[in-house]
Symmetry: C2
Subunit: 177 residues, 2 copies
DNA sequence: CGATCGGTTGATATGAATCAACGTGCGTGG
DNA sequence: CCACGCACGTTGATTCATATCAACCGATCG
């Protein structure tokens, strides 16, 4: 579990490309489902300084049998993960570059806002263009172009690790699934 | 649960596009995780004649508490689903058209072979080009072109609901993750 | 017999990748 | 303290993969 900081879960492809599966925020398990797997098929990398804590899988599994609350919590975590993952498939399969990035931002905004108060529509977002690219299947060059566009059109500005959302409506309009 | 026949799980996007998340074979749950969700966010459609049977979610959940075998089976099903889903994300995010289709074929071949004896490397595969397109994020026109290429190169031939695999090695070579 | 559906093929358009150059800020070592 | 190298972002030119548009064909079905 990631206790504090930012990280991401990803896989490295044979040709060196990297696909980011999920950004991890404080309180997130690296992967809920991996509680039930003995071998992980992903890697995790920190984006900021982090604090993590670990649990033996077998212990969690064991506790699940006796504890309905825990079992239900684990299940809900898996479901949330699965829902996001399913949405990501649709985004990668069917959306344009602008839509992909809009979706990523909306998704992260929701998760960040669930953890902290947002002032002035400014969301902490310690990502390089390359991370965004690896998350939504684009090139960092193209991410840069799209972000320039968003900036020009007065939609969002990402800079210095902060995402400033100027026109949420426009962003949601682009991101319509 | 799909007891017999072929089906697929998908979502319909706002612009009418369709993203297929998973093809369902006999014995598959529509979605393992949906045991723990009360609202489904996907649709299912049959590809062939099918037989299905249903269970009340609450009953399954209830049985899980007492029955380690069932709980473990459900967990394994969720894990398998999650693993395939994660792989699909990498494929959609980072692979070319040929690689996407090769992956889909290899993935389905594996699942089909787990259920029935394969003779002459001929796999039953009742998909239209449009289904392949909707599964891997391409156009049916482009799927047609890629399949022509595969045919010319003597790799696989898909026709009349049967996938004939002529050169598995070549297919695996293309599909390398 | 005509209509519809699925597949093929060709011409063209377009979105994103690639290649390349440049600027800027920053850390590091001299 | 300076100079250099490096990571990151930006921008322009060009290429490439895939989409789009359109025509055609064969099979199937009412």
């Amino acid at each position: 579990m990631l206790c504090a900081g930012w990280a991401f879960r990803y896989v490295q492809l044979a040709d060196g490309a990297r696909q980011i599966q999920r950004f991890l925020l404080d309180g997130d398990l690296f992967s809920s489902l991996s509680i039930f797997e003995d071998a992980s098929h992903f890697s995790v990398k920190a984006l900021t300084d982090v604090r993590i804590c670990g649990f033996p899988r077998s212990e969690i599994r064991e506790k699940c049998y006796g504890d309905r609350g825990l079992q239900s919590a684990v299940a809900q975590s898996c479901v949330a993960d699965g829902r996001d993952t399913a949405k990501l498939i649709a985004v990668l399969g069917r959306c344009s570059a602008e839509q992909r990035i809009a979706h990523l931002f909306l998704h992260l905004m929701e998760r960040i806002a669930a953890r902290q108060v947002i002032r002035d529509r400014r969301y902490p977002l310690p990502l390089r263009h390359q991370h965004i690219a690896d998350a939504v299947g684009l090139t960092s060059v193209h991410v840069s172009r799209v972000l320039s566009l968003f900036r020009e059109r007065g939609i969002v500005v990402l800079s210095e690790g902060v995402l400033e959302v100027i026109d949420v409506r426009a962003l949601e309009g682009i991101g319509l699934l």
